[in-house]
């Protein structure tokens, strides 16, 4: 009996030592959609650097694939068990993650969504993200000004059905082009008559290429291509080049990864809306440290900014050149 009490006391002491060590160093958890997408790799790097500079401990985890909600929930539970008081998460499934976030918040953990919102957005304490609708509007306006009143036949290479980011960029693009479109809250893809082909690219190069090939079969006169991201744009360019149509067709995109900016500089992509994953991550870490030291939570939506990058500026549209884009891009320069 004596022995058991002693053991218990020792264990308690050990835990106490552990928790004081934790109190000295704020623990912040970062959960991305996957470990492999360069966007999230950069986000993790940004968070790690910021945490190191400010003396916080960063734990990181991810789902196995895009859409893996269970993997994200498990990562969150493990991080809270490891003493994280702030969780930064890019939700894979904007609705399914909500119950797990509620549980975490009930334990006094601050949860901040990065890059994409939960549904409803108020499900997290705060959101640091790109305004995806605005990202679409910028490339839409650029395309409209470049086309200078020429009749357009548009192909849209979208993400996959039902994803809010895919809908926001698509609808923003059409809005920016001055066509009938849906507002930023609507998850339906608008389809005005000018859009002659609509196909899903899954944000993937090979699938983007296949989608573009099929669109060209549907309508060989397509002269403007909107793409959900730059890998899809690269695939679309490949398809256009093989069909001998790369000269007369304009491709616009969203992301601003270093490979994408290279494609802008090479003239494959006319313009792209650049977003800033490192900034989302470092802002998240800073907020986590603030919460750990002063107990003050952040709230609401913070736009981490989006910049239109284009090799050829057009009159009336504010854009930056590819040099600026390269300085700010994410991925391998």
């Amino acid at each position: 009996m004596q022995k058991r009490t002693l053991t218990a006391a020792l264990i308690t002491a050990a835990f106490a030592v552990c928790s004081t060590a934790q109190a000295a160093e704020p623990v912040i958890g970062l959960i991305t959609k996957t470990e492999t997408n360069p966007f999230f790799v950069k986000m993790k790097e940004g968070a790690t650097a910021e945490a190191k500079a400010k003396g916080a401990k960063l734990l990181s985890g991810a789902g196995k694939t895009d859409g893996d909600n269970a993997g994200q929930v498990a990562a969150m539970e493990n991080m809270i068990a490891a003493g994280a008081k702030t969780i930064l998460i890019t939700p894979s499934d904007s609705k399914a993650i909500i119950p797990a976030i509620k549980k975490a918040q009930a334990k006094g953990v601050m949860v901040i969504a990065l890059d994409s919102p939960t549904d409803p957005q108020e499900g997290t304490d705060a959101l640091f993200a790109t305004d995806n609708y605005k990202a679409g509007v910028l490339i839409g306006e650029y395309a409209k000004a470049s086309m200078a009143g020429k009749p357009v036949k548009i192909a849209t290479l979208d993400l996959f059905p039902g994803h809010p980011v895919g809908a926001q960029r698509h609808n923003g693009f059409l809005k920016g082009f001055g066509l009938a479109s849906n507002d930023a809250k609507n998850n339906e893809l608008a389809k005005p008559a000018e859009v002659v082909c609509q196909a899903d690219s899954f944000g993937d190069r090979a699938k983007g290429q296949t989608a573009m090939e099929n669109c060209l079969q549907k309508n060989p006169d397509i002269n403007l291509v909107y793409t959900i991201n730059e890998p899809a744009a690269a695939g679309a360019f490949n398809a256009l080049q093989k069909a001998g149509k790369d000269k007369g067709v304009m491709i616009v995109s969203v992301d601003g990864g270093c490979d994408g900016i290279k494609d802008v500089a090479a003239g494959k992509i006319a313009a792209t809306s650049q977003q800033y994953p490192l900034k989302m991550a470092s802002m998240g870490v800073a907020a986590g440290i603030e919460y750990a030291t002063s107990g003050k939570k952040v709230s609401g939506y913070t736009d981490t900014g989006v910049t239109l990058i284009a090799a050829k500026p057009v009159a009336g549209i504010d854009s930056k050149d590819t040099k600026v884009g390269t300085d700010l891009c994410w991925g391998k320069k």
Partner: protein, 316 residues
Amino acid sequence: MTNKLPPISQLGPFIALLIACVAFGATTDRFFSGENFSLILQQVTVVGVIAIGQTLIILTAGIDLSCGMIMALGSIVMTKLAADMGLPAPLAILAGVGVTALFGLINGLLVTRIKLPPFIVTLGTFNIAFAITQLYSGAQTVTEVPPLMTWLGATFPVGGTNVAYGTILMILLYLGVWFWLRETQSGRHVYAVGNNPEATRLVGIPPEKVLLGVYVLAGVFYGIASLMSVARTGVGDPNAGQTENLDAITAVVLGGTSLFGGRGMILGTLIGAVVVGVLRNGLTLMGVSSVYQVLITGILVIVAVTVDQLSRKGGR
């Protein structure tokens, strides 16, 4: 009765393809063109060649979940060796195919020596190949690809239609394997092992040897698919191959090969792969959401497996 019609499970894939073609031909005027068919074939080359390996394994009553990831690893190995280490393209391609064959060998050894179920073995190597691909590539796309590696993606004109060399290679591979399975003793052993491994052992054919050979050969086909993937997209893509395992199994099942092993035909698999490509192309031409492609593919898979099951019962 040598002219007897093949059973429904073997005619099924052709019927499905015919129905799809007629339906799309009737609804969109752009469907029936040489150019469009050439494109559909180019779009199915990667899954098509992977599915050859998958068919061989399924004929032995096995299954391979690792095929797409092994393909992705092969394409990263060949493009990185050429781009980063300056290895001549033919050697880099051989090294890539060597790695995929090695993975086939590992699958085969685990299945034959330690007698592990293929489903679990290849689930393991699926994850291992994925992780090695990400670690080796640093999750970065390899863009500086030597021209020889993209040659299969180039086209040549045949009566006004541009046909890709990759398409020709895929068809030749199918014909070669068809001949091998049908006309040679070693080919018929593949069916025998799938039908009844103990009986084959009794007649003096060690089933382990046949199985090991099949897994290595499948690995070689995945390596050829790696090259096809590089040729088509022009890059080494570490995110490729994630859905190709189920896509390949879908093609095999639609093609009428039995998941119980020992029955099926390789040319059916080609038709199965083309059916999926035709659905994707035709529905895009019609302006229909890709969700319907997924829906129809799902229904066709169930129909194909049902036909197989019923014809097995009927055969008894």
